[in-house]
Amino acid sequence: MATMTAAETGQSRLRPSKPTGFLSWVATTDHKRIGILYFWTVLVFFFIGGVESSLMRAQLAQAELSLITPEIYNQMFTMHGITMVFLVVMPFAAAFFNYLLPLMIGARDVAFPRLNAFSYWFYLFGGIFLYSSFFLGGAPNGSWVGYAPLSSDAVSNMAFYAVGLQILGVSSLASAVNFIVTILNMRAPGMTFMRMPMMVWMALTTSFLLLFAVPIIAVALFMLQFDAVFDAQFFQPASGGDPILYQHLFWLFGHPEVYIMILPAMGIVSEVMPTFSRKPLFGYAAMAFAGAAIGFIGFGVWAHHMFTSAIGPVPRAAFAVATMFIAVPTGIKIFNWVFTMWGGRIRFTTAMLFSVGFVSMFTIGGLSGVVHSIVPHNAQQHDTYFVVAHFHYVLFGGALFGLISGVYYWYPKVTGRLMSEKLGKFHFWTWLLGFNLTFGPMHMSGLLGQPRRTSVLPGELGTTVETYNLLSSLGVIVLAVSASVFLYNLLRSMKHGEASGDDPWDARTIEWMTATPPKVHNFDVIPVITARDEFWHRKYAESDQHIPVAVPVGASVDHDEHDGDVGHIHMPDPSLWPAIHTLGVMPLGYGLVYANWLLIGIGLVWMVAGVFGWIIEPLAEGDDDEPALVGAATH
């Protein structure tokens, strides 16, 4: 793990300066430590989400079971959805972005380190807030889409959903702004857009999607929450409100959200595949623009989630066509990955296996996605297990496979040790098996008439459907075993893993150029970038036949003008204010859920005071801007 050098932060009185210990993590503004915080928090929520899904699969293992009551079941699938989308996949990507973006673009940190900490705390408190509902009268049970007017019914407990997601949205929006500015403005000299690693491209695209999508859900959630708690009339048909408006607003956000979850994984795969194929990414420009195109078209297809809702044939037709054509850039990406491998010398490490698994499984999810755009038959698939199968192939077989690939790939960068390949391969194959066993049969049970979100498997669906459900439930056991092995491998390798050295994979991008684990300031000398895959080009020259030839070690290293003395590089100071400020969202949130004006007031005052403390907090080395003027300007 990264350690913090406190040398330069000692002189600030009001800032915590201890390099280790609990407080140092609460106060950290180091993007690497924040990334690590994200990662472990994600694992906790992933575990909880997994338990929720296991309960559901147990209930559906056989027809007409009653292991858990419908009340509990409905909470389980709602919280499973919310957890996996907002508390696992999205922040998992944030973990990678946090840790890697500055390293990949040759920066010392993100543009706004304290805002970065703020994002993390908002995420953590948002998650805790959502889960506190279990102890306060039951979790939300109106499904993760929260369709009004069902969700404005008090019995659905969706006020917690509306406020909790709002909190998570603030976190996402803040990190989106942070990453966009970081990528645009903090690149190392020579790092042009077309030299950025593909992962950075995907981070940029994802951040823009968040930037434009989050405000939309924010509005929908405000309306929903005021409908539920304060009797506003946005979606209440009794006074002329229109529930369809909620669906539009939700999916205007919800569809880009799908790409927000998948694009980071695509970025990871685009880093892993070239490294282990020992070839550059095939069709770099096409990949970058296909990613942007997916994001852009992704904003124009939202109503395809509403093909069976109250919308007419004209919008149905228009959105069907738009939806189909999102398959084109997706196809471009898949072929480019395959041709990255083509002609390479592929080393099948665990990371590479997960990446290949990603491409393969994601293709299946993509194909069933195209099938949904066949509107007349969409009416048969919609809200059945066919859809459940589809989006798990995209988000589990896609996003999660990619993200786990990234864990195996960058684990040595973070810890300096390799994860066990033997356990890793066991993890991969059981993961692949368990995944397909769980979600493969759902394609069929859906087409055979099993709707989703039902707390019981009706016996009248027949024994075939029952068999498919049993298979799905058995698959969960395989997945649970597999996940335990993964966790064991993660923890064990931290101490006992083989030492990795700085560049265990013969990698291509500059995050592998610096020390492993990276020092707190990332690079002793900011590298000057002269090529895409800069690190590779420093290691290898190319023969006439474009075959790489190793160059002598050290022939191409940035001149270290400090001769290793890097103690004076000023890094952002740690600060407690992001955590303190953010904590105010708890009273505010509960106040909004229970319509308690006192709590709302406390929360608001707390947060305003927190911002104030944040602003006037002294810095170790002068003010943020125009430091040269600090001495001169005294009036």
Binding site: D109, A111, F212, I216, L252, P313, P315, H570, E626, P627
Partner: protein, 110 residues
């Protein structure tokens, strides 16, 4: 390293448009024009412009928008990137929400 580059950045920026900042007099002139336009807008409430009313209001709104954004927010003098952000956001909002409202209109007519 969030802070170390900012001095240079500001230097670049001041250099880039330092000489083009409007003077206070110019700002006041712009504000006066804005005031006149607002008066014109409000006059639609008192006088009947017939069919021209709504287009007139929209045109006035757009002019005011561009004037404030261009002069007061310095879009006219700053890097084009800022303008691009703003108009991308605005464009997205207009296209998406117009499409949404259109869906309601189309469906209501069926």
């Amino acid at each position: 390293m969030s802070t170390s580059g900012t001095q240079a950045a500001d230097a670049v920026e001041h250099e880039a448009h330092g000489g083009h900042h409007p003077t206070p007099t110019e700002y006041v002139r712009i504000a006066l024009i804005l005031a006149v336009l607002t008066a014109l807008e409000v006059s639609t409430y008192y006088f009947d412009f017939g069919r021209a009313g709504i287009p007139l209001l929209i045109i006035l709104m757009v002019i005011k928008f561009i004037m404030v954004a261009g002069s007061f927010m310095h879009l006219r003098y700053d890097t084009k990137l800022f303008g691009r952000f703003m108009y991308t956001g605005l464009g997205f909002a207009i296209v998406l929400y117009t499409a949404t409202l259109l869906i309601f209109v189309v469906d209501a007519n069926q």
